[in-house]
């Protein structure tokens, strides 16, 4: 197949995806959004059936990886321009990207190293509280708050990671659940964290003198501050994706996978489990911390509500839905699980029920996730296969 045609196929699918997302978000009508949802599911099933299509698409993704990723990035950049008159949808898009950051972080543990972690939402909360406290009590800027949150969440990552050296599987999941509850209860009951009232009045970040809370005019078009915030979060996500993919494609990622596939044989080959498991927790927690900071400064208010156990479960569901150990999959899972329920607000009561049913259906019928992980490709040093 010609290379140009491959690129065309890839671009076609990306445009289709963009169109579906835009239409889905534009529609207010409940029935219509269900219709669009059904169309998307139908397309996905068709793809899964027609193996040749999938093959071509897969080939396109491999051969023209850089170009397609660039085009995808461009599409995400223009995405908020479709919703200039509806700030709320931009808000949801930002939330989706923030959760994507935390889910990519969670994937270091769940996907790469094979350790369940139910405390990622708590880590998000720790990051958010750190930055919020720094900014409201000491009046420092967003950026110093961000650095502080990275340090603090990294330290908590070590604290959470230490018991994992002795435990695995069910015991490990209990450790993380206990950590999540202890963190939640302590923050809820301490005075200096605001207790159940939370912390309000977290300032919006400033960048080169621009405050991201006010809109600016460029050539007659008024760009709302939310949109600038969207680009800030997008920038963070892209940078962190690069970090994550570099980590996963390095010897570190390979070691993590060896630990996941068989701990004992990894040990026999001379891999020390401790530093690698700890690193996986530290990286994951730092990602969650960054996501938390972005969340706190987006909403301007933080309470224990945003680090409840349901958030932990939601993040786990994102990783499972998208596909473990695959960054693209995890991001798709995060975006789907934020955007789709927002549109189905009229069935708000059934939301959590639907999450759980989806998760079970995914586990039974497609345990590898929507976008499964590809087999690792080894390259020699010169970059050729």
């Amino acid at each position: 197949m010609k290379k140009g045609k491959l690129l065309l196929i890839g671009v076609f699918f990306e445009l289709l995806l963009l169109a579906l997302i835009v239409i889905f978000l534009k529609i207010d009508n409940f029935l219509q959004s269900i219709l669009i949802f059904a169309v998307a599911v139908g397309i996905w099933f068709l793809l899964a059936r027609k193996t040749r299509m999938v093959e071509n698409l897969g080939m396109a993704m491999e051969e023209k990886r850089k170009e397609l990723l660039l085009i995808a990035l461009l599409m995400v950049i223009i995405l908020p321009f479709f919703f200039l008159n509806n700030i709320y949808i931009i808000h949801i898009l930002i939330l989706a990207l923030i959760y994507a950051i935390a889910a990519v972080g969670l994937d270091f543990q769940m996907g790469s190293t094979g350790m369940v972690n139910f405390a990622q939402g708590t880590m998000l909360g720790i990051g958010a509280y750190t930055s919020a406290l720094l900014c409201t009590t000491f009046g420092v800027s967003f950026w110093i708050g961000l650095v502080g949150a990275i340090i603090v969440s990294g330290i908590f990552g070590v604290i959470l990671g230490l018991p994992t050296l002795k435990t695995k599987e069910y015991h490990l999941s209990l450790v993380t659940i206990a950590f999540a509850y202890v963190g939640y209860l302590l923050i809820l009951n301490m005075k200096w964290t605001g207790g159940p009232d939370g912390i309000a009045g977290i300032p919006k970040p400033k960048l080169f003198g621009f405050s991201l809370s006010r809109s600016i005019d460029i050539g007659g078009i008024s760009i709302p501050g939310k949109m600038l915030y969207f680009y800030l979060v997008l920038l963070a996500l892209v940078l962190l994706i690069i970090v994550a993919s570099r980590l996963k494609n390095s010897w570190l990622g390979l070691t993590w996978n060896a630990v996941r596939d068989d701990e004992i044989s990894a040990k026999c080959y001379g891999i020390r489990l401790m530093p690698y498991k700890l690193l996986s927790f530290v990286f994951g927690s730092v990602f969650a911390g960054i996501a938390g900071v972005l969340y706190a400064h987006l909403v301007g208010f933080i309470s224990t509500e945003s680090m409840a156990f349901s958030v932990d479960l939601l993040l786990v569901a994102m990783v499972i839905l998208g596909g473990m150990d695959n960054i693209a999959g995890v991001i798709v899972g995060a975006i789907l699980l934020v955007i789709i329920p927002e549109k189905f607000r009229s069935i708000q009561d059934f939301r959590i029920l639907l999450y759980a049913v989806t998760l079970i259906l995914m586990l039974v019928f497609r345990p590898q996730g929507l976008i499964p992980k590809k087999v690792r490709v080894y390259r020699n040093i010169s970059g050729n296969r």
Partner: protein, 306 residues
């Protein structure tokens, strides 16, 4: 001073009865299938709802019946329903994943629990509000000096002891028990010598879930107020108790359950400001156990097998 101590002791024993009944379920499931059933706490709260519903129905339909019979019948129905719920949950969310990565059953049972919880919230009348358990056991009790032992407390304590003795005989002296022990020792060898493994797994889930049902019913009788989301915490406490006692050991689960209850109650009573963060203390105990003695009080040492 001594009186408060006695009161706290009584409270912790009441709580310990519930925790150990839940923990026995965890330990049975883990023993037989090497899975941790994260929706066990939702079996518990399901039983509270079922028991309350049937008690209300009976009270409306047949007023004037002796309360002991009513309670017995409602408890029996709640146990059977919850038992079948346990069997169904095993068939749907655990059986398909017997050979897969242990992450998968953790997630599938967690979501099963969420489904049960949400169904209770959505479909039970006014399900998102706290419910009131029909107060059917006569007030009063035995006074020892200033210390009052209420009727409901006596009922709960005696009943738990009966259940413990029953479980002991079930596991040690009956064919069902010996088959369950055989399966938990070696799943494949047990099926080779002709034990119908699937059937005994179902039986185990029935027993475990109905034990949780008893705990749920006790929760209703003792605290009289319950809500759809109480199951998650009860489940995590029960799981912690079984881990502290040693996963796989029934006697350990009982000890673990009472230990957890003691820590929680006394920390809440004697540490200033402790009542709001009472759960923190019990989780810290669990974390300490997991770090320093992961096999629990009575568990066998965990040895990695290739």
């Amino acid at each position: 001073m001594f009186l408060t101590f006695l009161l706290q002791l009584k409270n912790s024993i009441m709580l310990g009865c519930q925790y150990s009944l839940i923990a026995i379920g965890f330990t049975l499931f883990f023993g037989i299938l090497n899975v941790v059933v994260f929706c066990h706490g939702d079996f518990y709260i399901f039983a509270t709802f079922a028991g309350a519903t049937f008690l209300l129905i009976f009270l409306n339909l047949l007023p004037g019946i002796v309360s002991v019979i009513l309670i017995a019948v409602a408890l029996f129905i709640a146990m059977v329903l919850t038992g079948f719920l346990g069997v169904v949950v095993e068939k749907v969310t655990i059986k398909p994943f017997r050979k897969s990565n242990p992450i998968i059953p953790i997630l599938s049972t967690l979501s099963a629990g969420t489904i049960i919880e949400q169904l209770l919230k959505i479909f039970y009348p006014a399900g998102s509000n706290p419910q009131i358990f029909p107060n059917i056991i006569p007030a009063g009790g035995i006074n020892i000096g200033e210390f009052l032992f209420g009727t409901n407390e006596i009922v709960i304590l005696l009943f738990t002891i009966v259940i413990f003795i029953f479980m002991y005989f079930l596991i040690k002296k009956t064919k069902i028990g010996s088959n369950i022990v055989a399966i938990s020792q070696d799943f494949e060898a047990a099926s080779m010598v002709g034990i119908n493994v699937d059937r005994y797994v179902s039986i185990t889930f029935f027993i475990g879930a109905s034990l949780a049902a008893i705990a749920g019913f006790m929760n209703g009788i003792y605290y009289t107020v319950f809500r759809y989301d109480m199951g998650a915490m009860a489940g995590i406490k029960g799981f912690s108790a079984s881990v502290v006692g040693g996963l796989g050991s029934v006697f350990g689960a009982v000890i673990g359950g009472f230990l957890m209850a003691f820590v929680e109650t006394f920390a809440a009573a004697y540490i200033p400001g402790g009542s709001a963060i009472r759960d923190v203390f019990s989780f810290v105990v669990v974390l300490l156990f997991l770090i320093f003695r992961p096999s629990g009080i009575l568990g066998e040492k965990i040895i990695d097998k290739v």
